[in-house]
């Protein structure tokens, strides 16, 4: 472990991320983003790839941190780079490149954590896909889904969005969701998720 890493212990980093501590976030960025950049660069990835991978790995680690019974059994760095390898594997798979190097990396992962990590990564990718395709959806559809998710009463939604009945709101919402789900399922990144299928 380097001198810089001693500034915060792994548990302090976990606690900081769990509680959205900006100083810890800044420290993790300062300490690890360059390492991720080097890792990605060695595997012929770009600067943008490095940032995508860093963000996804942080998203996955955040999800871990929110689990009540989660404890770090290895250092933060070791754990974080396990996630980075998984995320990179997924990324490279989508680009259909660097497979052999990645497979070598995957072989070195601790097996006992595989299942949960794959689950977390799957959630991270699905969230990203939902965000991506929501952004492409018609604004009226997004509003309809959003208001409904917030638990706003259907008659209030009908009034606000000019639907003649609550049934019309429901029908339109279903149509919007169908379209959105179909777009997500047709996305190549979703199709690649088959590797993370639960048994």
């Amino acid at each position: 472990m380097s001198e810089e890493e001693d500034k915060y212990s792994s548990d302090e980093i976990l606690f900081g991320i769990k509680n959205h501590d900006r100083a810890i976030l800044q420290y993790v960025y300062d300490t690890y983003f360059d390492k991720v950049r080097i890792y990605v660069d060695k595997r012929k990835g770009s600067e943008n790839d490095a940032w995508d991978i860093f963000q996804d790995a942080m998203g996955v680690f955040y999800d871990y941190s929110q689990k009540q019974d989660f404890v770090l059994k290895v250092s933060f760095q070791a754990f974080f780079f396990t996630i980075i390898r998984f995320v990179w594997y997924d990324h490279a798979k989508n680009r259909r490149s660097a497979q052999s190097v990645v497979q070598f990396d995957m072989d070195t992962l601790p097996l006992e954590d595989d299942e949960m990590l794959r689950e977390m990564l799957r959630n991270q990718i699905i969230s990203k896909l939902a965000r991506k395709h929501l952004a492409k959806l018609k604004k009226s559809c997004v509003l309809l889904i959003k208001y409904s998710s917030m638990g706003i009463a259907t008659d209030l939604i009908a009034k606000k969005l000019n639907y003649h009945s609550t049934q019309a709101v429901y029908n339109q919402k279903r149509k919007c969701l169908r379209k959105l789900i179909k777009e997500i399922m047709d996305d190549p990144a979703y199709k690649n998720l088959s590797d993370y299928e639960r048994p």
Partner: protein
């Protein structure tokens, strides 16, 4: 392919999905729902996507976390920051050009205010009430809850009326101020936000200080706006990066 064609009948289960998320399924239905999740892969996948969509349409803690991470990255990579926010850049350039022309025809003061307004427009975004509603709903007073829903529906006058029914609720104050900003009542908005800042022991101080600064910018009180943005930029809070950006665009050293 087979899976995709099965989307349509399965979306008939939307009502069940919604009830499950809201915790409204009766015991028998709940048992059946869980069984379907275990045994019917297509059902489970549909629900998984529905759940992700549901989460993404709300401002949640994870989104705020990811935004903080993004702001750290932007602060370290100014070139990327410009690429990601082209509109703001355009506003800044447009504002500079306007000022130059104005100087030539003796309308500098008016045009400076125009540039302040453009900056305000670039930085003021309607804040979603979704996260606060969900995270605090168990302890929130009913008028505030109703006000938040009206706010989310952009019915700002009615929202303010509701918030006024719970004058001591700080979240109500915050969203009352935001509603006033939406209505262009900046001085009144500042009053609401100041109560939050003076209270000095609550979760909304960062937001209140940021919006006070924007109100000053919008009403042409540039000096006060700059003082406020500087104070925020000196802190390590959520609005630090935005304040640094805005000070940069205001050409403040």
């Amino acid at each position: 392919m087979i899976q995709l064609t099965k989307i349509y009948p399965i979306m008939k289960d939307l009502e069940k999905f919604e009830k499950y998320i809201k915790g409204e399924l009766e015991e028998g239905d709940l048992w059946e729902f869980r069984k379907s999740l275990e045994e019917d892969t297509i059902f489970a996948k549909q629900f998984e996507l529905y759940k992700a969509i549901h989460q993404e349409t709300q401002t949640n803690k994870k989104q705020l976390f990811m935004e903080s991470l993004n702001s750290i990255h932007e602060a370290q990579n100014p070139a990327k920051k410009v690429r990601q926010l082209p509109l703001r850049r355009i506003y800044a350039v447009a504002a500079s050009l306007i000022i130059l022309v104005a100087a030539g025809i003796g309308l500098l003061t008016m045009q400076t205010q125009n540039s302040n307004i453009k900056l305000y427009d670039a930085y003021f975004q309607t804040e979603s009430a979704a996260f606060n509603v969900r995270s605090a709903s168990h302890s929130m007073e009913q008028p505030v809850m109703d006000g938040m829903q009206l706010y989310e529906l952009h019915n700002y006058d009615a929202a303010i009326e509701m918030f006024n029914k719970a004058p001591n609720n700080l979240m109500g104050r915050l969203y009352s101020g935001l509603s006033l900003m939406e209505l262009g009542e900046y001085d009144d908005a500042i009053e609401k936000f100041n109560v939050i800042v003076k209270h000095n022991d609550n979760l909304f101080i960062d937001q209140a200080e940021w919006y006070i600064s924007l109100c000053y910018l919008r009403t042409g009180e540039r000096r006060k706006a700059i003082e406020n943005f500087k104070r925020i930029a000196a802190d390590n809070g959520v609005y630090r990066t935005k304040s640094l950006k805005i000070l940069n665009e205001l050409k403040v050293e």
